[in-house]
């Protein structure tokens, strides 16, 4: 009986040592750094750099997602971004986490120039350098570059920055899908 046990243990031990060695070898020999997934995730985030997700910027959030973090923390991206992420990672989309804010219409910052005192605080705050101006001069927002992150609003000592919702005009207007009419889908009223 005991010989049987000893043989069994020895065989398994031999196998394990060989395989363990093999894996140890591979772990060292084939070590890789970096994660290409982060880039892919980052490219799906809206790059508002607003930090609402709880990370200092979109890329750190992308890294967190790549490491298995929740995908529903980015309010500017909203449902569309969540869906895209879910698609990429092949997981179920979840509703936006309200703790981080709600999805809003697109906005841009506008500086009321006659009140601006040129303190440059907003320039320091803007993550995408969308504000122009020099010390003690009137500042203005380059509308096309502003991501609407509203990071510049709070630092302004004279509260001269407004976030304005971008209204659709005849050139940005697009068709809406037909109203669902008689056939309401079963998806409505989901706990989404």
């Amino acid at each position: 009986m005991w010989t049987g046990i000893v043989i069994a243990v020895l065989v398994l031990l031999a196998l394990a040592v060989i395989f363990g060695g093999l894996l140890g070898f591979a772990a060292e020999r084939f070590r890789v750094e970096g994660n290409p997934l982060v880039d892919q995730i980052d490219s799906l985030l809206p790059q508002t750099q607003c930090g609402q997700c709880g990370f200092p910027g979109c890329r750190p959030y992308a890294e967190s997602i790549a490491n298995g973090g929740a995908i529903n923390k980015c309010p500017p991206g909203g449902e569309a971004t969540i869906k895209a992420l879910a698609d990429l990672l092949d997981v179920e989309p979840q509703p936006l986490d309200a703790e981080h804010g709600v999805e809003q219409a697109k906005r841009v910052a506008i500086i009321r120039e006659d009140e601006c005192i040129g303190c440059t605080k907003c320039i320091q705050a803007c993550p995408v350098d969308a504000i122009l101006g020099a010390a003690k001069h009137m500042h203005t927002v380059i509308e096309s570059e502003c991501t609407g992150c509203d990071l510049c609003v709070e630092p302004c000592p004279v509260d001269c920055i407004d976030m304005v919702t971008v209204e659709p005009d005849i050139r940005t207007w697009t068709w809406t899908p037909p109203a669902s009419g008689v056939i309401a889908t079963d998806r409505q009223g989901v706990s989404a």
Binding site: P46, I117, G133, E143, E145, P157, V164
Partner: protein, 608 residues
């Protein structure tokens, strides 16, 4: 006989054309007001070059496009500019856009005209310039600026010039009547375009349900090299791509333009406009519009000035307002509904249908798609409309795009036959719109990332430089020297900033101008009112207070600095300091309130 090919799919809707061909083209006359949208074609909107109160003459340029793709707008008659404002324009959105309103003075006085009797003596470029200055954009479809279209890419040679007189949509007879009555002008215009392009072949294509037009054109083209093709009646044979396939058997490559395969397609009306411009010096200030539908008593075609309100034309055709259920601009297959009759006729408006409820009934409610494939059978682009629909509806835009959503010409044949009465085209339009928005957002996100990364890099660099300097300073023997250097560097960076600023000055200026109007309307965001019943968030309030205090300090510091330097923004800064004082007091009060409230609340409630 010209060899003809067939195109895939297609339908045969009821034609309803005879109603509006009974009478010859009538002149609509001059209405009380002319409303001239600054954008009447794809491309850039024009900018007004007149001001309110100016008197303009007929044919005078009143708006122009300086850069980008576009053509000018001319005054259709003489009169006074009454306003430049946002008014309803013909657009599926039913939204307003910038328009110049002209109050005619009734004199219809021409500005100086420069007809070219012998255009052949000019450079081709000069003629193309004339066409641009004449405000001519395509009159058969999307309204592409004709001069640009007539300038095919350098490596392309146009072998076949097609004049599109198919007019395959039901109801519309504007081109039909034009061909019947203005055949010579059409030929003259075609000759001008042919001279510009030097094609080997010129074809005028007319659906064989317009024998009178075919006859008239045959007479007018007698003795010329121009071919006349009577093509089988089948919607949408007038679609540019289908017409090219019918006449040449070739297909326009997806995403390309006809010139890629050496073909160009122009509308009949466009040819007339070119002819009138060249030989009469008359820019595009009027067009033929079909007014039809069972809600008008005297349907027919009108020569209407651009800017004529639709109401005016409907009245002339004897509108019975109580009968109208739906008002369609364009044909029943591709036109869009109007919300108001105040919109003007523009360069691309070919037809107005005042339809009764019986004539164009509301379709029954949408049913589920049964994948019967009828739509695929009729699609002239050989798409799979049911799949496009399925993916568009489910917002799987990537897949819809993969199935060539963007090749759909929105002809509506699929919706026409769908047994489940699904508004397919609307789904496609929605999907296309969403995809375009997404693309724009992606672009914007990419740019934001670049800018963010650039900024991070710059900050990093500055940080390093600072570090460097600090070290150097510590190391350096001569303190004064180091200081100087630092100053020099600082100046340099400032110089940079100024440079950047001047480079972008134009941009800023533009942004400012655009913003100004909007800012006035936009109300400053009201701070979210704290619901009284909620438990006050002490922490947040404390943070607020601290922030306010620190801001106040900064401001006071700045103010003192400014005072010391006698800067010119002292006044502003004083205001700011006052404001921040307020802020601090408010924050303090709020905090005190909150503390009080908390104290008065029983413990149990706050721990729940």
């Amino acid at each position: 006989m010209t060899q003809l090919w067939d195109f895939a799919g297609g339908i045969h809707p009821a034609e309803n054309k005879h109603q509006s061909t009974a009478l010859p083209i009538r002149a609509a006359g001059i209405p009380d007001r002319l409303v001239l949208p600054l954008q009447q074609h794809i491309g850039e909107p024009a900018a007004a070059i007149v001001s309110v109160g100016d008197r303009v003459l007929k044919g005078e340029k009143i708006a122009d496009v300086t850069n980008g793709m576009g053509v000018p707008v001319h005054a259709p008659t003489s009169g006074v500019i009454e306003s430049i404002a946002e008014l309803p324009v013909p657009h599926p959105s039913g939204m307003n856009d910038w328009c110049i309103t002209l109050k005619p003075d009734g004199e219809d006085q021409w500005t100086a005209r420069q007809p070219v009797s012998d255009y052949r003596s000019l450079e081709r470029n000069q003629v193309l310039e004339l066409i641009r200055d004449g405000g001519i954009s395509g009159m058969g479809g999307a309204g592409f600026p004709t001069n640009i279209k007539l300038r095919p890419p350098r490596d392309r040679k146009v072998d076949t010039l097609i004049l599109n007189g198919a007019e395959c949509e039901p109801y519309i007879t504007a081109d039909d009547m034009t061909m019947r009555e203005q055949a010579d002008e059409i030929v003259a215009g075609l000759k001008v375009m042919a001279w510009i392009l030097r094609p080997e072949r010129c074809v005028i294509a007319i659906e064989d349900n317009k024998p009178e037009a075919v006859e008239a054109m045959r007479a007018a083209t007698k003795g010329t090299q121009i071919e006349l093709a009577a093509i089988p009646t089948k919607y949408p044979s007038g679609g540019e791509k289908q017409l090219i396939q019918i006449l040449t058997g070739m297909e326009v490559p997806s995403g390309g333009i006809p010139a890629d395969i050496g073909v160009m397609c122009q509308n009949i009306g466009t040819a007339v406009a070119v002819s009138r411009l060249i030989f009469e010096g008359r820019p595009l200030i009027s067009r033929i519009v079909t007014i039809t539908g069972e809600a008008v008593q005297e349907p027919g075609n009108f020569e209407a000035l651009i800017g004529t309100p639709v109401q005016y034309l409907l009245d002339q055709a004897g509108l019975q307002p109580e009968k109208v259920n739906r008002l369609v601009l364009g044909g029943p297959m591709m036109g869009y509904t109007l919300t108001t009759t105040a919109v003007p006729v523009i360069k691309t408006s070919n037809c107005v249908i005042a339809a009764t409820a019986a004539e164009l009934p509301t379709p029954p409610p949408e049913q589920p798609c049964i994948r019967c494939g009828e739509c695929a059978e009729v699609c002239p682009m050989e798409l799979l409309p049911q799949q496009l629909f399925w993916y568009s509806k489910a917002a799987e835009f990537e897949k819809a795009e993969h199935l060539n959503l963007f090749d759909c010409i929105e002809c509506g044949a699929c919706s026409y036959v769908c047994p489940s009465s699904i508004p397919l085209v609307q789904y496609y339009r929605y999907a296309k719109g969403e995809i375009r928005v997404q693309r724009a957002e992606q672009l914007k996100a990419d740019r934001a990332r670049e800018r963010f990364e650039a900024r991070q890099e710059r900050l990093e660099r500055e940080q390093q430089e600072k570090e460097q300097r600090r070290k150097e300073r510590a190391k350096a023997a001569a303190e004064a020297q180091a200081k100087k250097k630092a100053e020099a560097e600082k100046a340099a960076t400032e110089g940079d900033a100024v440079d950047e600023r001047s480079a972008k000055a134009a941009l800023v200026q533009q942004a400012l101008a655009r913003k100004k109007a909007k800012t006035e309307v936009a109300k400053p965001q009201a701070p979210a009112a704290e619901p009284a019943q909620e438990k006050p968030d002490l922490e947040a309030l404390e943070k607020q207070l601290a922030q306010a205090q620190s801001k106040l300090e900064t401001m006071q510091g700045m103010l003192e600095d400014a005072k010391a330097q006698q800067a010119d923004n002292v006044e502003k800064l004083e205001r700011a300091v006052a404001k921040n004082h307020d802020r601090v007091t408010r924050a303090e009060e709020a905090l005190a309130d909150a503390r009080q409230q908390l104290a008065s609340q029983p413990e149990s409630q706050s721990t729940e």
